[in-house]
Symmetry: C2
C-alpha cells in the first residue's frame, strides 16, 4: 500500500508563519474547505486550532458539521457558499455563519433573523473584479439595507491574481474593495487577502486574512523560494520490477516503446489515487534522489517507471517505495509536471493510501 | 449542493448486456476497484450481485473488506495486486483470493498454504506484452512448480489496446496468452478480456471475462455508438447569475476577458469535486440542452459559464442546475473535453455531491 504522510506540525508552523506576517489585531482564519485541501479536515482543523486558529472557512454547508464536532463550540465556522432557505436549522444547530453573496441571500437570512428574534451573524462578499461569486456594486445599497437585521462580522472579497507579483488586478481589487466597503458598509471589519495576498502587501490584511494553500505547504509566491514548510510526502510502493526488451511497449495503447533493453518498475498508485493521467510519459518519480521517468500511460491503479538510468548497479525491488512528493519533488512541482497546480494534486489525493499523520 | 445520480438499474442492465455477449459457461466477473470506479462500491456491488455477478475484482486488499461485508460469504473476491507476507490473516478472515503477479508472491502464498495445511485459492497473472504487472515467461516454470501447493482458479492476463479496433497487439497478446497458459498451466481455466475485449472477439472470452468500465456506462467501443446504458448524471447547482461588462475578466489569473457585456453563472463544483482544472476555458455545461461554455479557470469549488448565447430570453437562475454529465454530454465526452478519458472523470468524482442511487 502506498503511503501519504501529512505533517501536522508543519501545518501548525505554517499557521504561525502566517500569523507573524500580520499585525496582532488581524485575525488569521484557516480555510479548510475540500477536506482541508484533501489532507483530512478533522486532524488538520485540530492542528490549526492547536496553533491558535479560531476562525475556519469551508465552502459548503455539508463540510461544516464534521468540523464543528472536532473543533468545539467556541471557534467560528464560516460557509463560503452562503445561506439558502431550508438550511436554517442546520445553521442554527451547528452555529455556523454564512457568507452572503447576493441580495436574495441577505434577504432570506434577514427574514430568518427576524423569525428567530435575533441579529444573526453573517459575512457579505462583494464583487471587486474576479466575477465568480460576490455581489455587484449595483446591489450593495439594497444588501446594506437588508443587512440591518443582521450582525455583520465582515465584508469580504477575493483576489484573482495575487499569485502574480505586481499584477495590476491586485491594486484594482484592493481599491474597489476599500471604496465599496466604506461607501456601503462603513465601520464593518474587512477581509480580502488569501495566502498570496498576505505576502504581497500589509495593506491587504485589513481585519482578517484567509489563507488556505500556504497552510498546506504550497508556495504562495511562485516567483521565489517557498516561505512555507512542506506538509506532505507521498511514497508509492513498488509491486514488481522487470526487464523489458527493445521494441516492447508499456501500458495502455502502447504510448511508450523501449528503444533498448530496460528495467522497469510498477507502483501501486494511479489516477484513481490522484496522480493525474496527464503525467503519462511526462512525470517523474524518485528513488534515493534519482529521477525515474514515467513510461507509458498512468493507469487507474498502476504507474510504470524506468530504472535503466539509475547510477551504480543498485536497483529498487518490489516492496521499496518511490517518492512522488517529498524532498525531491514538491506538490507544486508534481502539479506542474501534470500540467496543473499543486492545489489539484492535493484535493485529488485518494483514499487508498495508508495515511500517516505526524505530530510535532 | 450539486447532485450526482447513479442509476443502479442501468448498471444491472449493463451486466446483463455483457452476460449476453458471452457463452453461458463463461463467468462474467465485475471489476469494482477504485470504489467501483468512483460510484460507491457498496451499492454498486449489491446491484451487480442482484444482476447475477458472483465474482468481483478489487485492486487493493484495503478495498476488499468492505466489499465482503456487503456481498456476503458466497461471492468470490479477487485482489489484483496480490499477496504479501503479513497479509495472511486479512486474506483468511475475509476469504479473499489473490492475483499472484510474480514468483515471490507465489512462493509466499504457497508457504502460507502449507502452514495452513490447505491448497489456498489463487489466480496467476502472466505477462503478454502490456508490461505492467504479471509474470514474464522466464519465471513461469518456477511459478508453476511453486503453485503446486495452491488451488489455481485462473490464469489471467490483460489487454493493452482492446479499445482500438483491429490493433495488432490484441491478437499478439491473445496468442502469447494461449501459448504460455497451455505450456505452463495446462487445464487451468483462463481469463483475458476486459470490457472492450469482450466485444472484440468471442475467442477472447475463455472461461472468465472481467469488465469494469462498460458496467459503469463508458463506451468500450470508442469507434462506434456506445452499446452500454449510461449510468450517471451530474447536475451542478447555480449559486449566482450576474452581468459582466466588456473588458472584465473572470476567474483566477484573468484567463478569460469578455469582449462584450455578458451574463455568467457560477456553479457549486470545481476541481475538488473531480471536474478537472483542464476544463478551464474549454469545457461546456448544458442548460435545457443548450451549451454554456466554461469561462476562465475552473476553481477548487466553483466554475463560471456564459449564458449570453442562450436562445430565447429565458435565463437560468440561482438554484437551477446545469448538466455536466447527462443526456447532452456523456462521461466519455466530458473526459475528452478535459483532455483525458471518462474513467478519470468517474474515479475523480468527489464526496461533496448529494448522491442519489436510482433503483430499477
Amino acid at each position: 500500500m502506498s503511503v501519504l504522510t501529512i505533517d501536522l506540525a508543519a501545518i501548525e508552523e505554517n499557521y504561525r508563519i502566517l500569523k507573524q506576517q500580520t499585525a496582532p489585531s488581524c485575525t488569521v482564519a484557516a480555510v479548510v474547505k475540500a477536506d482541508a485541501y484533501g489532507l483530512g479536515i478533522e486532524p488538520v482543523a485540530v492542528a490549526l486550532q492547536n496553533a491558535g486558529a479560531s476562525s475556519f472557512f469551508v465552502a459548503l454547508l455539508c463540510e461544516a458539521a464534521a468540523l464543528r464536532r472536532v473543533i468545539g463550540p467556541q471557534a467560528a465556522i464560516f460557509v463560503l457558499e452562503g445561506f439558502e432557505e431550508g438550511e436554517a436549522a442546520l445553521y442554527e444547530q451547528a452555529d455556523l455563519i454564512p457568507v452572503l453573496n447576493h441580495v436574495g441571500a441577505v434577504q432570506n437570512y434577514a427574514a430568518q433573523a427576524q423569525k428567530r428574534g435575533k441579529r444573526l451573524p453573517a459575512i457579505i462578499q462583494i464583487e471587486t473584479g474576479m466575477n465568480r461569486i460576490g455581489a455587484p456594486e449595483k446591489d450593495l445599497s439594497a444588501m446594506a439595507s437588508a443587512a440591518a437585521a443582521l450582525d455583520l462580522r465582515y465584508i469580504m472579497s477575493h483576489f484573482a491574481c495575487s499569485d502574480e507579483a505586481g499584477h495590476e488586478m491586485n491594486t484594482h481589487q484592493w481599491e474597489k474593495f476599500r471604496t465599496r466597503a466604506s461607501a456601503y458598509f462603513a465601520g464593518i471589519p474587512m477581509s480580502l487577502a488569501n495566502s498570496s495576498g498576505i505576502f504581497r502587501s500589509n495593506a491587504y490584511h485589513f481585519d482578517m486574512v484567509r489563507p488556505g494553500m500556504a497552510l498546506y505547504g504550497l508556495n504562495p509566491l511562485p516567483e521565489q523560494e517557498n516561505p512555507m514548510r512542506p506538509v506532505i510526502c507521498l511514497d508509492l510502493k513498488i509491486l514488481q520490477v522487470k526487464t523489458v526488451q527493445k521494441g516492447e511497449i508499456c501500458g495502455y495503447n502502447g504510448t511508450y516503446r523501449f528503444d533498448k533493453e530496460s528495467i522497469i518498475g510498477t507502483v501501486s498508485a494511479g489516477y484513481a489515487d490522484g496522480l493525474p493521467r496527464s503525467l503519462s510519459n511526462r512525470g517523474t518519480l524518485f528513488w534515493k534522489g534519482y529521477p525515474c521517468p514515467i513510461r507509458g500511460r498512468v493507469s487507474m491503479d498502476l504507474i510504470s517507471v524506468d530504472f535503466s538510468a539509475l547510477p551504480g548497479g543498485e536497483l529498487p525491488e518490489a516492496g521499496d517505495y518511490l517518492e512522488a512528493v517529498g524532498a525531491n519533488q514538491s506538490a507544486d512541482a508534481l502539479g506542474a509536471a501534470a500540467g496543473t497546480i499543486g492545489y489539484e494534486i492535493l484535493t485529488s489525493l485518494g483514499r487508498r493510501y495508508r495515511r500517516i499523520y505526524k505530530k510535532g
